[in-house]
C-alpha cells in the first residue's frame, strides 16, 4: 500500500515535510444552461463555483459549509475528479483529479450521505470483499483493517445482511468502512450524517475524531448539521453563491458575524414588551421575554430588575446555526481569510 501513503508529488515541501492534501487556486466551474423554446434557445453561463482558493494540510478536519446551491457539491465533485473544473489549478493528494481520477480514487475515500457506494444486492461482507479487489488491497491488510473497523463501527451484527436491508445508520457505517479499507489519506464526506438519529450521528462523529487523531487522516466534509461542525471541525470554509465567504476557525466565524447575545427573562407576571436601554425585545410569550442585547449584559439585567420583578433569567450565546445563517444572508463583517 505504498502508493496510498506516498507524499504529494509535485507540491512544494512545507515545514511539516509533506505538501498540502488539497491545493486549489482560483478554482471555478461554469455550467451552460440552454433555455427558451427551440430555435429561440438562449445559452446562459452560470458559475457554480468561482475563484475558490483553498489549501488543506495533512491531518486537518475541514467543514465545507454553505446553503443549498452554493457550490458545495460542485466543489466536492471537482476534488474527487467527477467534474472537470472550468478554470483554476487543483491538486488533490498530489494528483490532478480530472485527469488522474482513477489513480486518485486509490488514495482518497469518498462517502456520499445520499447514496451508497456499496452493492445494493450483496451482503455487506461481500460488498466489502469486492471493494478489496477493486482497490487491490492485500488480503492480510484487508483482514486487519476490516477487523479494526468492525470493532470501532460495530459492524458485527449486520455483516451478513444484504445492503438493501440495512438501516440508514448501519448503511452509513458500512459506507465509511468501504471508504477506509484501502487506508486513504484523505476522506471526503458529503453530508455523512444526513437523516441519521442522534445516536448514529454521535457514533460517526466520535469515529471520525478517532480516525483523525490516531491515523492522521485528513477529513473534508460538507454538512447542514451544525452539530457535526461544532464537534468535528477546527476549521470551516463557508461558500456562498460559488464564492468563498469565510475560511478560518469556528471562533473566528462567530466573531465575523454581528450575532447579538440574547437575554431570556422570566418575569413574575406577564406585562407588555420590556423597554430598557441597551436591549430590544424581540419576542414575548406570556411572562417570558427575549431581549437582544446591544450593551453589557450586567447593566441590562440591572435595568430590567429595577423596573420589573424577575423570576429567572438566562443568557444565550449566539449559536453557530444563527451565525452561519447570518453569513448566508450576507451579514458578515467582511470576508476573512487568514
Amino acid at each position: 500500500m505504498t502508493s496510498v501513503r506516498e507524499s504529494a508529488g509535485s507540491a512544494p515541501p512545507s515545514g511539516a515535510g509533506e505538501g498540502p492534501v488539497i491545493e486549489a487556486v482560483g478554482l471555478g466551474r461554469d455550467f451552460v444552461l440552454s433555455e427558451g423554446p427551440f430555435l429561440r434557445r438562449r445559452r446562459r453561463v452560470v458559475s457554480a463555483v468561482s475563484d475558490v482558493t483553498l489549501t488543506v494540510r495533512p491531518g486537518e478536519i475541514v467543514g465545507y459549509l454553505g446553503p443549498n446551491g452554493a457550490g458545495k457539491s460542485s466543489t466536492m465533485k471537482m476534488l474527487t475528479g467527477i467534474l472537470t473544473p472550468t478554470r483554476g489549478h487543483l491538486r488533490v493528494a498530489g494528483l490532478e483529479p480530472s485527469r488522474q481520477r482513477t489513480r486518485l480514487a486509490g488514495r482518497i475515500g469518498v462517502v456520499f450521505g445520499q447514496r451508497t457506494t456499496l452493492w445494493w444486492d450483496l451482503p455487506l461482507r461481500d460488498s466489502l470483499a469486492l471493494t478489496r479487489h477493486l482497490y487491490r488491497v492485500p488480503a492480510a491488510d484487508h483482514a486487519r483493517r476490516l477487523a479494526e473497523l468492525t470493532e470501532l463501527l460495530e459492524l458485527g451484527p449486520f455483516l451478513a445482511t444484504p445492503v438493501r436491508q440495512l438501516s440508514l445508520g448501519q448503511r452509513m457505517r458500512g459506507d465509511l468502512t468501504a471508504a477506509l479499507l484501502h487506508g486513504p489519506r484523505l476522506l471526503v464526506l458529503d453530508e455523512p450524517t444526513i437523516g441519521l438519529d442522534v445516536v448514529s450521528k454521535s457514533t460517526i462523529r466520535e469515529f471520525l475524531l478517532r480516525l483523525n487523531g490516531e491515523e492522521g487522516t485528513t477529513i473534508l466534509l460538507t454538512t447542514h448539521d451544525l452539530g457535526d461542525v461544532e464537534r468535528l471541525c477546527e476549521r470551516v470554509v463557508v461558500i456562498d453563491r460559488g464564492r468563498k465567504a469565510y475560511d478560518g476557525g469556528l471562533d473566528g466565524l462567530r466573531a465575523s458575524v454581528p450575532a447579538p447575545r440574547v437575554l431570556v427573562v422570566d418575569l413574575a407576571s406577564p406585562v407588555g414588551p420590556v423597554r430598557v436601554e441597551g436591549a430590544r425585545c424581540v419576542r414575548v410569550e406570556g411572562p417570558r421575554q427575549w431581549l437582544e442585547l446591544s450593551d453589557n449584559p450586567a447593566a441590562v439585567i440591572a435595568r430590567v430588575a429595577d423596573r420589573h420583578e424577575v423570576a429567572d433569567l438566562t443568557l444565550r450565546e449566539p449559536d453557530i446555526e444563527g451565525v452561519v445563517a447570518a453569513l448566508y444572508r450576507g451579514e458578515a463583517a467582511g470576508n476573512r481569510t487568514p
Binding site: S3, L83, T84, F112, L134, D190
Partner: protein, 274 residues
C-alpha cells in the same frame, strides 16, 4: 505494489470480477436464470423463423440462398449477442446519471465503462449467443465454402470484429445520454435498429442504405462484408470487393472512435445537483 503491474489487464480483471459477482448473485435463483435464458433464446428463434419464411417465399435474395441467408442471420445474432452481453448495459447510463450512481462509479479506481457494463451483468444473454453460433455452424456446413486456411483463420477474426463494431455502436449510443436526457430511445433505434439491418443480406435494403451502413455507421462490416468474404462473392452493390478485407481495421477504428466519444462525454459530464 499494485501500480507496478501491467495496467492493461486491470480493467479486464475488474470486469471479470464484477461480472462474476453478478453471475454468482443470479445463480442463487437457478430456475429464474434458466427461464430468462430460454426466453432470450426464443427471440433468436423468432428472428431465424422470419429469415426462413422470407427466403422460403423469395427463394433467393440478391443471389443469396437460404443457407447463405442463415449464415448472415447467425453472424448477426452472435455478434449482437456478444456485444449485448459484454457492453449492452451501457444503455443504462442515463439512469445512472439521474440517480447519481455514476458519481459513485467515478470515485472507484476502476474505469467507469467497466462498472457500467458489468452492473446487473446478465448471463441470460448467452441465450442469444449459443443459438447464434449453432446457426452459424449449420449454415457453414450447408453453404458451399472454399475452406482455404485464410478463411479458417479469418472466421474468428470476423466474429470478433463484428462484436467490436456492435459494441462500439452501443457505447456511442450511450454517450448521447451524457448530453441529452432520454436519449436512450434514440440510441436504441441505432443499436436494435442496426441489428435488424445486419440480419439480412444488406443489398436488399438498397444502395443508399448500403452506403450509409458502410461509410457512416459501419454495420455493413458486422455481417455483410464478412459473408461476402466467406462466400467469395463479388459485391452486388458495386462497391470495391477489397472492402471486405478492411473489416478488422474498421473494427479497430470503430472502437477508437467509441473510446474518444466516451472520454469526451466523461469530460463534459455535469453530474446532477445533490
Amino acid at each position: 505494489m499494485a501500480d507496478a503491474r501491467v495496467p492493461v489487464f486491470r480493467p479486464v480483471r475488474a470486469y471479470l470480477l464484477l461480472a462474476g459477482t453478478w453471475c454468482r448473485a443470479l445463480a442463487q435463483y437457478p430456475a429464474s436464470l434458466v427461464m430468462m435464458t430460454l426466453a432470450t433464446s426464443l427471440g433468436v428463434f423468432a428472428e431465424i423463423s422470419a429469415v426462413l419464411i422470407v427466403f422460403g417465399h423469395a427463394g433467393r435474395l440478391e443471389g443469396f440462398s437460404l443457407a447463405e441467408g442463415l449464415l448472415v442471420a447467425g453472424l448477426a445474432a452472435t455478434a449482437f449477442g456478444c456485444a449485448d452481453m459484454l457492453l449492452g448495459n451501457v444503455e443504462n447510463l442515463g439512469e445512472h446519471i439521474r440517480s447519481g450512481t455514476l458519481d459513485v462509479m467515478l470515485v472507484r479506481p476502476v474505469p467507469p465503462l467497466v462498472q457500467l457494463a458489468t452492473d446487473r451483468f446478465a448471463p441470460r444473454r448467452l441465450g442469444r449467443i449459443v443459438p447464434g453460433t449453432v446457426i452459424i455452424a449449420v449454415a457453414l456446413v450447408l453453404c458451399d465454402i472454399d475452406w482455404t486456411p485464410g478463411r479458417v483463420l479469418m472466421l474468428p477474426v470476423l466474429l470478433v470484429s463484428g462484436t467490436a463494431i456492435c459494441s462500439a455502436v452501443w457505447v456511442v449510443g450511450a454517450c448521447l445520454q451524457f448530453f441529452v436526457t432520454g436519449a436512450r430511445e434514440a440510441a436504441n433505434s441505432i443499436t436494435y435498429g442496426g441489428q435488424a439491418l445486419t440480419e439480412y443480406p444488406l443489398a436488399v435494403f438498397g444502395r443508399d442504405v448500403v452506403r450509409a451502413a458502410t461509410f457512416v455507421l459501419p454495420l455493413a462490416f458486422v455481417t455483410w462484408q464478412p459473408a461476402l468474404y466467406l462466400l467469395d462473392r463479388p459485391d452486388p452493390t458495386g462497391l470495391p470487393d477489397g472492402l471486405r478485407f478492411a473489416t478488422p481495421l474498421v473494427a479497430v477504428v470503430s472502437c477508437l472512435a467509441a473510446a474518444a466519444c466516451w472520454r469526451f462525454g466523461l469530460r463534459h459530464y455535469r453530474s446532477t445537483g445533490s
